[in-house]
Symmetry: C2
Subunit: 287 residues, 2 copies
């Protein structure tokens, strides 16, 4: 059983069916449980997601958080409260769950997640994540100085978490102090907290497989001297991450792999409307 | 129940799982029967396709044809004997089947086929097909003169056939005489025969929906003054047709929508290898 975690507000939660539709396609026969942590989620959307998961054969669990929990954390229009909840996942999720794979809602899964899910995390390693910084590591160095860490700067859009270890290592108080002391320096608040506090407990996984920045086709191609072409990506990349402000659900999106996202968006909407239809029909019968 | 027809040699038949995988995604819950007419098909591939269809929940029927049937038809390396068999479908397929949707094996289905499948064909109309010629119709005029027909020049890669009417109208002898009399003029042999003999019994359906030439993104966009953009195609086009010599299963393919094809190729290969694995395992158990 693979346990996947999303944390999202009402708006971002609407993207989850697209991700789930893509997971189903590329992970046939896998048993999957979906966990969703949120501080605002309408009953309507919750029911819809539950129905969507049921249709896929996935279990679905939601956890509603008090907004006040993170009231001291910096937020702005691109970074909402909800983005902090992954840090507290070990506390929020059932205590008998020992591992979870967190996914941002702006990803698309196009190959099997099983190798990542089954990855062994050595002693002292609590997380697995990829870095989007260049090979030269210029941004890494800037981030190291900024956040006073010696590790690479991890992107937390895909994060494998050992919850058992997290329960010992991740403390709510550490997070609050770190935000209090460093909040003014934050560029990407939740990611900065993660890197500052837990970067050194994190093992790096290849971003071209597990957290492919969908804006950077040419950079990947160059970095790999031509190996990571479109064919390679379709065959090998498991998670496409539509990072940044431009999103493939907006009609202005212009990057490669936008059409794959939109196709899954279309498939998930079709499944969604069939679910809604099948709910309405039995009621109509009663008339 | 939707009945779909492919005609293919061993080589082209290997592309069928990709098409089926895409049909399954975009036509969930539809009952589908796959019919395959061929003059050469190894038992191995036939078994594989049968297993693939069974895994999808589709019925699968094969019809093996004597190669000699069309020995007088012109063939070259791009146009094989197999491409003529669609013309004889009404003769070959079970006599109680009254409608079939023929698909070239180099298509990808990305939306529902149901509206086409349910299309009403008026009296005297035996087929529905799309044309790839430009709005200005220059090629249409050349083809009209060449094949002495007054209809547009149809692409036969997607062809809805009323088999009941075909059984009255399509005669093997007509086809042979037409090939004998006009064979020297053929550019696309099977398509030329279809257009020359049956173009006037065919109703035109929009190619941007039912037979989108995947090489021609810019032309479609221009023709529609910007309406048929990528977003529109993903939402509205049901059948992408990878026409021409360059094929998306070759690594050199450079057109838009190549990644969608490759993604379905990857999904179908994964399904295929799972089917093969599940077959080998029970045997190993016996050791």
């Amino acid at each position: 059983m693979m346990h996947l975690l999303f944390t999202a507000d009402e708006n971002y939660a609407r993207r989850i069916p697209v991700v789930l539709e893509s997971i189903k396609s590329s992970n046939k026969g896998e048993r999957v449980s979906i966990h969703l942590i949120s501080d605002e989620l309408s009953q309507e959307l919750r029911d819809f997601l539950a129905g969507f998961c049921a249709d896929l054969g996935y279990d679905f669990f939601t956890y509603l958080i008090q907004k006040s929990t993170f009231s001291k954390a910096p937020v702005n229009k691109h970074y909402t409260n909800a983005m902090y909840y992954r840090l507290l996942a070990a506390e929020i999720l059932p205590q008998d769950l020992d591992r979870i794979l967190y996914l941002d809602p702006d990803v698309l899964v196009i190959n099997s997640l099983v190798p990542l899910w089954n990855m062994k995390l050595e002693e002292g390693v609590c997380f697995a994540a990829a870095s989007h910084t260049t090979e030269e590591g210029i941004l890494d160095n800037i981030n190291r100085i900024r956040l006073e860490t010696s590790s690479v700067y991890f992107n937390t859009g895909v994060l494998l978490m050992d919850l058992t270890k997290c329960r010992e290592l991740v403390r709510r108080d550490d997070i609050f102090s770190f935000i209090r002391d460093n909040g003014y320096k934050f560029i990407l608040p939740d990611q900065d907290v993660f890197n500052g506090l837990y970067g050194e407990m994190t093992i790096q996984i290849p971003d071209e497989i597990w957290n492919y920045d969908a804006r950077k086709y040419s950079q990947y191609l160059m970095k790999s001297t031509g190996m990571f072409n479109e064919y390679w990506v379709i065959r090998n990349t498991a998670i496409l991450h539509y990072c940044g402000k431009e999103k493939p659900w907006n009609s202005s999106y212009r990057f490669r792999f936008g059409n794959l996202y939109r196709h899954y968006e279309q498939l998930s909407e079709r499944r969604g409307s069939n679910i809604l239809k099948s709910r309405i029909l039995p009621q109509e019968k009663n008339l």
